[in-house]
């Protein structure tokens, strides 16, 4: 389109044959400007799920294609923890007594957990640090853009026995038949499900040790942002915003942070990036 516009302009202002070169230069300049304007917008807001994963992989090393990156990367181990304080912005989540809102409270839990994890040598990324509300896909994308990452989304329920905490993983995500080795965005969790269960078990054990009444084993639920995460991913839900006073929730903050940090520290030695079988070999997602 831009090329055609440039040529038309060139013909209008350089009508003689001696000015064809001028028209060509004008067309090239206009095309270049249009391309530079369009490309960043396409890469930021692309809606093709596979392309998003591909881009996330490419971000780790822009010089290589996603498949090449996956093939050549060494097992890097667990380095990064992406913490996701749920809700935010216009979505306050659960609302309870004393004006407690889930979106505010989870930020406190996330901040304390970040400190506890950094003390154990993890690099921690928060999906939000203020009162904003990234989309589910944006939250998953923070983990998908990393290598050697885990994803933990933090929630506070409006129901449940107060002073307890539960860990969830997604129940099942059908594996992809994609022969390229790229993971479809919708099924990003599939290759990581057994790792997610392992991580979830370890964190749940720590939580049930600290908070009486919490279940001993992890639960399954199709939590939206876990399905699109290409990393071991769990949801931690704390009960509840219906506490009699805010201090009850505040007292849980250090325990939850320690439990998550301890669970991750135990999980770290067992973490191996899974491989996906493709024709002619296997690749790491």
């Amino acid at each position: 389109m831009a090329l055609r516009f440039g040529i038309l302009l060139g013909v209008r202002f350089f009508p003689t044959s001696s000015h064809v070169l001028g028209a060509g230069i004008l067309a090239a300049v206009l095309s270049g400007v249009a391309f530079a304007w369009a490309v960043p917008r396409q890469s930021g807001g692309g809606s093709n799920p596979t392309a998003k994963v591909a881009q996330a992989a490419a971000n780790t090393n822009p010089a290589q294609s996603p498949s090449t990156t996956a093939l050549s990367a060494a097992h890097s181990g667990l380095n990064v923890v992406v913490l996701d304080p749920a809700h935010g912005g216009t979505d306050p989540g659960a609302r309870g007594t004393e004006g407690i809102t889930e979106s505010d409270e989870v930020l406190q839990f996330a901040t304390a957990t970040k400190k506890a994890l950094e003390a154990q040598g993890f690099q921690v990324i928060l999906t939000r640090e203020g009162n904003d509300n990234p989309s589910f896909d944006d939250r998953s994308a923070r983990a998908n853009a990393q290598r050697g990452a885990v994803f933990i989304t933090l929630h506070i329920a409006s129901t449940g026995l107060t002073g307890t905490a539960r860990v969830y993983v997604v129940p099942e995500v059908p594996a992809s038949n994609n022969i390229t080795g790229l993971i479809p965005w919708d099924r990003a969790q599939a290759p990581f499900l057994s790792l997610s269960r392992k991580l979830g078990d370890l964190v749940q054990q720590e939580l049930s040790r600290r908070f009486k009444g919490s279940p001993d084993t992890l639960q399954t639920a199709p939590v939206r942002q876990l399905r699109t995460t290409a990393a071991p991913a769990i949801a931690v839900e704390i009960s509840s915003v219906s506490v009699k006073e805010r201090a009850e929730l505040d007292r849980m903050v250090p325990g939850v942070a320690e439990a998550i940090a301890r669970g991750l520290t135990d999980f770290r030695p067992t973490y191996v990036v899974p491989t996906i079988s493709v024709p002619g070999g296997s690749v790491q997602p």
């Binding site: 809606s47 539960r166 939590v223 939206r224 009960s239």
Partner: protein, 231 residues
Amino acid sequence: MTPKWTVWLGGVLLAAVIAAALYFPALRRRVNQAKELTEKTAEQARRELLPVAPVSTGDPMVKVVMFWGSHGQEGELVPVTVELPLSRDPVLRTKQVLNTLLAGPVDAESRTLPPDAALMAFYILPDGTGVADFSDEIRTSIPSGIQSEQLAVESILRTLEANVPQVLRLKILIHGQEADTLAGHVDLTQLFRVNAKDAAGTQLDNPSPPGSKLPAPIRKAVESMRKATKR
């Protein structure tokens, strides 16, 4: 010299313009009020048009297993047997069963679904996929949280599994639309497996962004519900 009739005509036209200008704000107010009224009552009208509790007295009384929340064990479902006149038609039967589930148990604390939520429509596609369209209240009145949303969905699935074997899997819509989540947590873009017999050969692997990659029959059902909602 201007003819007398043109002066009269001009005067009448001028008066008409002034009257219209004076009436216009009131007219606009009325139109806005009528629009708001239409929007508010669209769902009510739909509920009236689609009777949600088709009960036939001629249907035989059948023992039905409903799954409601456990009073003693938090986060658990318990089967409760009730006797209902149930249709043999799987669509009517599903509506009767789900309406009973929505009506809730005697003990209100064992509810899994909000009391003001309603089943707006239900279809079964030829491949055994059920499409259930619930009113907005299922999203707005449910207690927020993974556990409560999971219990709500699980109670629907297990109740259908126990009572309507024709429904192999379920797609949940809210107000005729595909929803990303129930109330911010549980993923509704996927098909839920209802019946264990569906374990083999079923395409459950099509979670999709709203309105994009739905299988054709479900997309048609979603479209028809959207039209009904707009009407």
